[in-house]
């Protein structure tokens, strides 16, 4: 696994001023997991990625791979340490004048591995990434998705424990993106890799990440497992992962309730009909998003609810019932509160 502790990076500008791009990043990526780092451009994603791939040395803090400190090394140490981390670049970054096989073999050649071993390893990897017949092709003869597969094979050639994918699917069409993400998932399971996915694409996070960290202005402002964050009504990432665009129409006497599927429970698929059976409430669905995340349904829906008699008692009773079947309730609008505020204003 890879642990990043209190990592900071400052750049000194030519005019003498100092810009702090990373301000104490803490991030753990367990084995056999994909951790996504998302954030707006300019947040420090690229710098973080360059620090992890050791292309840039952090100003302070540490990067540990399986407990071994990789930051603060000399030139030779850096060279060795870089081999523990496989890096996939945005543009696949293949050398255009070398064949697929030569591209994948590059790290082995640098190490001085014997030719027969190189050939065997290259063939193995081409099978792993699904391109067994492209050995002698040149990068220009491949599609964007195929080039990225070759980039992944090159990143894996030295058996790294950590794979860093820096915007690996940016610029690919949706199909290629999907297949590359699926490949990363299967590699995580096949080789037990810790994969760091640096991306600005929420859909990629939702599709493959186990954990996610949101980076803003050089700091990680929120992190956790994808399933938990989606289930957390207060999570900003959760909202971005399952965006809900309400609201159609609701009546003045209706409550607006946001219901989030809990991470630790299986929510019955027919929960709406269950509510109408058990509770004396009329529920209309205003908006929502339900997705399969890590093999389980995750969702966030907004409902308008009207109670037959006692509103406050009805909400309490409904909330308790929903909690039992695995749904968290957040009140977005209460008709009583609106009435009180309006009266106070008048």
């Amino acid at each position: 696994m890879i642990q990043i502790k209190n990592l900071s990076k400052q750049f000194r500008l030519r005019n003498g001023s100092v810009v702090e791009v990373l301000k104490g990043i803490d991030l753990d990526v367990p084995d056999r997991s994909i951790t996504a780092v998302i954030g707006p451009s300019g947040a420090g994603k690229t710098t973080l990625s360059r620090c992890i791939s050791l292309l840039e040395q952090a100003s302070s803090g540490s990067i540990l791979v399986n407990g071994e400190e990789l930051s603060a090394l000399d030139r030779d140490g850096l060279r060795r340490a870089r081999r523990a981390i496989g890096t996939i670049f945005q543009s696949s970054a293949l050398l255009r004048r070398k064949t697929v096989a030569e591209n994948i073999a590059l790290p082995l050649r640098y190490l001085g591995v014997v030719e027969s071993d190189i050939q065997r390893r290259v063939r193995e990897l081409l099978v792993s990434v699904g391109l067994p017949d492209k050995v002698d092709y040149f990068p220009d003869q491949l599609s964007g998705g195929q080039r990225q597969r070759v980039g992944i094979a090159r990143a894996l050639v030295l058996h790294p424990q950590v794979l860093l994918a820096d915007e690996a699917t940016s610029g690919l069409d949706p199909e290629a993106t999907e297949s590359i993400l699926a490949l990363l998932k299967s590699l995580r399971d096949e080789f037990g890799l810790s994969i760091i996915l640096i991306t600005h694409e929420m859909s990629a996070v939702r599709d493959v990440a186990d954990n996610v960290a949101l980076i803003q202005a050089g700091r990680i402002v929120e992190q956790g497992s994808v399933r938990q964050l989606i289930a957390d009504p207060l999570s900003g990432i959760g909202r971005q992962l399952l965006p809900v665009r309400p609201l159609i129409q609701y009546r003045e006497d209706e409550w607006l309730l946001e219901l989030t599927y809990r991470a630790d429970r299986e929510v019955p698929a027919d929960w709406i009909s269950q509510i109408s059976e058990h509770e004396q409430a009329r529920v209309s669905l205003l908006g929502g998003s339900i997705e399969q995340v890590a093999g389980r349904l995750s969702g966030r829906v907004i409902t308008a609810v009207r109670f037959a008699r006692d509103d406050v008692g009805g909400v309490a009773q409904l909330s308790a019932y929903l909690a039992r079947i695995g749904l968290n309730v957040t009140v977005l609008r209460s008709p009583q509160l609106v009435t009180q505020v309006t009266e106070a204003a008048a």
């Binding site: 791939s53 050791l54 292309l55 060279r79 060795r80 870089r82 081999r83 981390i85 496989g86 890096t87 670049f89 543009s91 970054a93 293949l94 050398l95 255009r96 004048r97 070398k98 064949t99 590059l106 790290p107 050649r109 640098y110 190490l111 040149f138 990068p139 220009d140 003869q141 090159r154 990143a155 030295l158």
Partner: protein, 230 residues
């Protein structure tokens, strides 16, 4: 009283004797250019690699070194070749023990060619995608491994184009060197064509030079396209 200078006519070498003069001179031209290109590619190439790698996107970025090398390169490129040739006569004499002839021409040509080629190499490397160096680094390559197997190898077509351009300049410089008795077809053109008004030699040298430059460019372009196509 004014004197009317009329060109002495009838000094033309008979056509059938032109090859006997032209061919050895042509051989000398290529000898000079060959020796010069050897130094230019080795030294100029190294300086170009140094320029790129001390630069912002290089393997060992070092602003001060970059500025010093860059300043030296600009110096070497700022003098017209004829001026440079005259200006460095003491250096030429120190190295070759003479200030005329082929050896004396080689020194200023090398001095002029190195900075020219260095800048071309730097530009060729700058045109590479920045990931080329990054790939070498994350693949665990040493500085030399990255320079040769990633940077220079990826830039090879541009480097060949640069060398072609440089070679043509050197052929041109070799002709200018004719003025200090360097031999080669430049010398032939100066001594026979210019000083003796030998029109046949003049025409022949022009034709040979034009054909040579065309062939060099054609060959260079062909090689570039062969190297570029996977």
């Amino acid at each position: 009283m004014s004197t009317v200078i009329t060109p002495a006519l009838g000094n033309d070498t008979p056509w059938d004797q032109v090859p006997a003069l032209l061919l050895p001179a042509y051989g000398e031209t290529w000898t000079m250019v060959g020796i010069v290109m050897l130094f230019v590619i080795l030294v100029g190439g190294a300086v170009g690699v140094l320029l790129f790698n001390t630069g912002r996107r290089g393997l060992f970025t070092h602003r001060q070194s970059y500025l010093v090398i860059s300043w030296l390169v600009n110096m070497g490129r700022s003098l017209p070749f004829l001026v440079l040739m005259a200006a460095i006569i003491p250096l030429t004499y120190l190295i070759t023990g003479t200030s005329i002839g082929i050896p004396a021409a080689v020194v200023p040509m090398v001095v002029a060619g190195i900075p020219f080629f260095a800048r071309l190499v730097e530009n060729a490397l700058r045109d590479l995608p920045p990931e080329v160096t990054a790939v070498g680094l994350v693949s665990g390559g040493s500085t030399l491994q990255i320079i040769f197997s990633a940077q220079l190898s990826e830039a090879l077509p541009s480097l060949v184009a640069a060398a072609t351009l440089n070679l043509i300049s050197m052929i041109e410089y070799s002709a200018i060197s004719g003025t200090i008795g360097a031999g080669g077809i430049g010398y032939l053109a100066v001594v026979y064509g210019y000083q003796r008004f030998d029109h046949h030699i003049m025409i022949a040298t022009i034709l040979v030079l034009v054909a040579t430059i065309q062939l060099v460019q054609l060959g260079g372009d062909k090689l570039v396209s062969l190297l570029s196509r996977p």
